[in-house]
Subunit: 221 residues, 2 copies
């Protein structure tokens, strides 16, 4: 059974949503504020989140980036384009504007859940004895979990997605800059350095190879 977290302070809409979804066979949890939502999310991992933007306290826009690995459908009365764009770029899987038709909402939910579950989505990357889990954001070598920062994780993921290719420095910068806008060559060097150090501490192995003048790749020997 799929579980859906409804984040909405409006009791009426929330109740209506809950009823509709329950009738459709989904499990439903409720949160009535942004802070409560984060609390719920820290303890459980629903399959999908319905997020209202107009929340008391912590706003929906602020909650959104903190939800990772779970598709979020934004439910909002706001309709202006800039907002839509920001939302999609900010990590929303989809959005729907009030008032909406139940049928449409259910379709969008189905689409998100289908793609989240579909087996062709590879959620784990493996290289040698290292495993990167894209759902939990955990990287492990053997039994040891390695705590990486957001940027380190992003770099490693990019390298592991193309294990046989050289990933150009410029490409890394492009991708990373979506997350941290001011990543320059010199800071990239540092991230790589720190990443290597963390991996080295486990294994005394250097997983990353520099291709002089081009970029980096996973070391194969």
């Amino acid at each position: 059974m799929k579980n859906i977290l409804i984040i909405d302070d409006d009791i009426h809409i929330g109740d209506m949503l809950e009823e509709t979804l329950t009738k459709k066979g989904y499990g439903v949890r409720r949160a009535y504020s942004g802070t409560e939502a984060l609390l719920v999310l820290s303890n459980s991992k629903p399959d999908l989140v319905l997020l209202d933007l107009m929340l008391p306290g912590l706003k929906g826009e602020e909650v959104l980036p903190q939800i990772k690995g779970i598709p979020v459908i934004v439910v909002s009365a706001k309709v202006d384009v800039d907002n839509k764009v920001d939302l999609l770029l900010g990590g929303a899987a989809d959005y729907i504007t009030k008032p909406f038709e139940t049928k449409e909402l259910l379709a969008r939910i189905a689409v998100q859940l289908r793609s989240a579950v579909s087996p062709e989505v590879v959620s784990k990357l493996e290289f040698d004895d290292m495993i990167l889990d894209m759902n939990s954001h955990i990287v492990s070598i053997g039994d040891s979990n390695i705590k990486l920062t957001r940027t380190e994780y992003a770099i490693l993921k990019l390298l592991m997605q193309n294990p046989s290719q050289v990933v150009a420095k410029s490409l890394i910068l492009d991708r990373i800059s979506e997350e941290t806008p001011d990543c320059t060559e010199s800071s990239l060097k540092m991230h790589i350095s720190n990443l290597r150090k963390k991996l080295r501490e486990v294994n005394n192995k250097d997983y990353i190879e520099a291709i002089w003048g081009i970029g980096f790749k996973m070391r194969t020997e």
Copy 2:
């Protein structure tokens, strides 16, 4: 570079889309009917498809289920809800209704492409028993990998791309100077010399032939 297939019989909208996308750095292909689209898709695999629903002949709704493994964004003037639902359930990754704002379309495209895994393009050059892999930047003869510098790699690649032609020194200098700006004739001589030495150490063969006064080519005998 990401490639997008635009399926639309309306020349004006299609042109507008193509211009917008090209400006953004995407590669664009066009198809003006459902049947043409399927033809294009049977020969090539774009990273994303923009599909207009109102097509002559084979309708968009009929084309949609036949596109597999590529995210499809439906572009349509139809707005009734049932249609949206059917589309999403029928496999569309997203849809956008005309008239739409360019910014929003670009955002939706970015979202779809972001989640897609980059297909690994196999591009290898072979000459005799030597293989140059353009993804990994690895050059190998038999079982031995050869470690080349950026410039040596670029020169060898240029020669191997035109194995039957003589590559003029000036041409090599032009191409190479993109990577190392101060490459002169005398330094080119050195690069060739060093390159030969590295290849010779594996095989005791001289793969590169000098054409007196003109340039170099791969040796065929």
